[in-house]
């Protein structure tokens, strides 16, 4: 019964004829082993980078925003480029965990846990930039509307920058709830294998979960509604981020195409980052039987689709700029492609539009090596996209006498590199303390996704096929 009906075209999602116990063993054991040498080296590198980032942030706060190379027209540089880049990366986690849950895509179970963790860490990195770019971080709580002694003077509710505050904080906290609620039953699995102090910690983390039928029923109800809420939420977040630009009156920013174009780009870059992490995680933690080539290929298909959407959006922008007959709009796009920052436009076009098209080839979609390189390319390309939109546009405003060229200082580069350190430090801690693949959810799909049940190596068959497959039963 729980086998359900699986279309014959579906490929196995769990390889190696796993039993329920083997799944627990494989997925809990990375948290129980002593860290490997590779993990320790990676952790030292990541946390040192983080430490340098913290130093650069303290430098910024101590010396002031003058330690960055922003100027009269270029008010946004690396800070907002990085903010949009990180927030976009976060979107794939919610897409995998929420949208694929609503669409009943079973392959999500192999990657959702790590992707949601990635979302949370990426949003932390993103939220850092608006907080420090205001300059006086000690009054950063002015962002929030609260009864105050200044009148009470409130923030401007017409401003997309304030909408962003609400969008990012809601997104962060809802993603955290969704991720943690999924983790609770898996922490209980870890707890029941542990002893001593470890057991105490995991007992606290698992909230005393027992796996009672009523609890599972409510857990599934909660997960489904959180998925239903997260789906429009994730689309709203990048839409609102794009409003930061689209509601301004800057040529090249003031366009109605921005919301869908930003959301597609966010999913595109987010999946690329999921691929970067998954390719490394499955190798280092030996999870190739849970994060299979099938998963990698599915994600590559998403990258191909969203990359194509992004490409169409770039071309549409160019067409509309020409078709508008508006000289400032035309100049903005001519300047992007042919101006002083032509190299970043070229990087964006080649990494985001041309290179993902190689994923039409099935062999390349299923190549782990190629996927890894492609995921790095896409991450670079999407960073360039934000740089093109921000720096190129601001370096050439309406008044030629104020035209200039923006180059980041070492402080700005240091903060960006530091957020990469933050991201990987948190991710490395996460893989040590929590099961990287959702244990309960993988067990739930074992009988419809395990390679002993479906695919060419299946030894169990569905009931209606029993008559013709007696020979297979000997293996059982």
């Amino acid at each position: 019964m729980s086998g359900g009906i699986v279309a014959p075209v579906r490929k196995p999602l769990i390889e190696g004829h796993k039993t329920y116990h083997q799944i627990t063993e494989d997925l809990c054991s990375p948290t129980e082993r002593t860290p490997s040498r590779a993990w320790i080296i990676a952790f030292i590198v990541a946390s040192s980078t983080l430490a340098f980032g913290v130093f650069c942030i303290l430098w910024t706060i101590w010396m002031g925003i003058g330690s960055w190379n922003l100027n009269r027209t270029i008010g946004w540089g690396y800070d907002i480029t990085n903010f949009v880049w990180w927030i976009g990366i976060g979107h794939a986690g919610t897409l995998i965990s929420a949208i694929l849950l609503l669409f009943r895509q079973r392959w999500r179970t192999g990657v959702n846990r790590a992707a949601e963790a990635m979302t949370i860490f990426a949003v932390i990195c993103a939220a850092l930039f608006p907080a420090i770019h205001v300059g006086r971080i000690w009054v950063v709580f002015y962002f929030f509307p609260y009864p105050n002694t200044r009148g009470a003077l409130w923030p401007n509710f017409n401003s997309p920058l304030l909408w962003d505050v609400f969008a990012i904080s809601t997104y962060f906290s809802v993603s955290l709830l969704f991720w943690y609620t999924g983790l609770v039953p898996d922490f209980a699995s870890v707890r029941n294998r542990a002893s001593g102090f470890r057991k105490k910690i995991y007992n606290a983390l698992s909230f005393g979960w027992t796996g009672s039928a009523k609890h599972w029923q409510r857990w599934e109800s909660l997960s489904l509604v959180l998925a239903g809420l997260s789906t429009p939420l994730v689309l709203s977040v990048h839409t609102i981020v794009s409003f930061d630009f689209a509601t301004s009156v800057i040529p090249g920013w003031h366009t109605t195409i921005f919301p869908p174009y930003f959301v597609a780009g966010a999913i595109f870059s987010g999946f690329a980052m999921v691929q970067t992490l998954m390719v490394m995680t499955r190798k280092i933690l030996k999870l190739e039987q849970y994060i299979t080539l099938e998963h990698i290929e599915s994600m590559n298909k998403v990258i191909l689709v969203t990359g194509t959407v992004v490409g169409v959006a770039y071309l549409t922008e160019l067409f509309i700029a020409w078709y508008s007959g508006y000289v400032y709009e035309q100049f903005a796009f001519f300047n992007r492609a042919m101006g002083v920052y032509w190299w970043s436009y070229f990087g964006m076009m080649s990494c985001n539009v041309i290179s993902p098209q190689l994923f039409w080839v099935k062999k390349l979609r299923r190549s782990v090596f190629f996927t890894f390189f492609m995921s790095i390319f896409v991450n670079i390309g999407m960073w360039f996209e934000r740089f093109v939109i921000i720096a190129t546009t601001l370096a050439r405003d309406y008044l030629p006498s104020s035209w200039s060229y923006y180059k980041p200082t070492w402080v700005e580069i240091g903060i960006f590199v530091g957020t990469l350190g933050l991201f990987f430090t948190f991710y490395l801690i996460f893989v040590r303390v929590a099961p990287v693949v959702a244990i309960a959810e993988v067990k739930h799909i074992l009988k419809v996704g395990g390679d002993q049940y479906i695919g060419e190596n299946a030894i169990h068959r569905h009931k209606d096929e029993h008559a013709t497959h007696h020979d297979h039963h000997q293996h059982h």
Binding site: F166, S173, V174, P185, W219, S221, L222
Partner: protein
């Protein structure tokens, strides 16, 4: 550790389909099942046990509606009566500008409200140690438990034997 003051007899099954048919069997014999414990949600179990549908999502709707009203009425009060300011020639009551924040607060209130309700009604919080019958039910075993006040030990043992339980144990929790 929370005390339930119950004497429990429980059987351990190796597969969710065995457990599901055991639960159906118990229902047909009118034996009152205390609870079942599984490592993952087993579909069809709610119906087999006769559990009512969870009303958690209805609570979620109410929380969401509170969020909607909080955002909409809050911004309306601030911008029309507490401190009205003209921003860029826009009206004092710019309803379209409210849409993003109203949406975000709806989602925020619904998610937090539902999640807190979920953990509270399930009795799950950090520091809680709920009694567990068998530690393997978070791994690969499926447990069906009877309260000895509802089902006598001899009836329960016969039932477990008939439905293919691989182990039968008793415990006071």
């Amino acid at each position: 550790m929370r005390q339930l003051n119950k004497n429990v007899i429980y059987g351990i099954y190796s597969d969710e389909e065995l457990l599901l048919s055991a639960v159906r069997n118990a229902k047909s014999k009118h034996l009152e099942v205390m609870d079942v414990f599984t490592p993952f949600p087993v579909h069809g179990m709610d119906q087999a046990l006769g559990l009512e549908e969870s009303r958690l999502h209805q609570a979620g709707f109410v929380y969401g509606a509170i969020g909607t009203l909080t955002a909409f009425l809050g911004m309306t009060w601030i911008m029309t009566s507490d401190w009205p300011i003209i921003f860029g020639g826009k009206p004092y009551w710019p309803v379209p500008s409210y849409i993003p924040i109203v949406f975000e607060l709806t989602v925020l209130f619904a998610s937090w409200g539902m999640t807190i309700t979920f953990y509270t009604i399930c009795g799950l919080w950090p520091g809680v140690s709920n009694p567990q019958l068998d530690l393997r039910t978070t791994d690969d075993k499926f447990c069906l438990a009877f309260d000895k006040n509802d089902v006598s030990e001899s009836v329960a043992r016969a039932f477990f034997n008939e439905t293919g339980a691989e182990e039968v144990n008793t415990k006071s929790i």
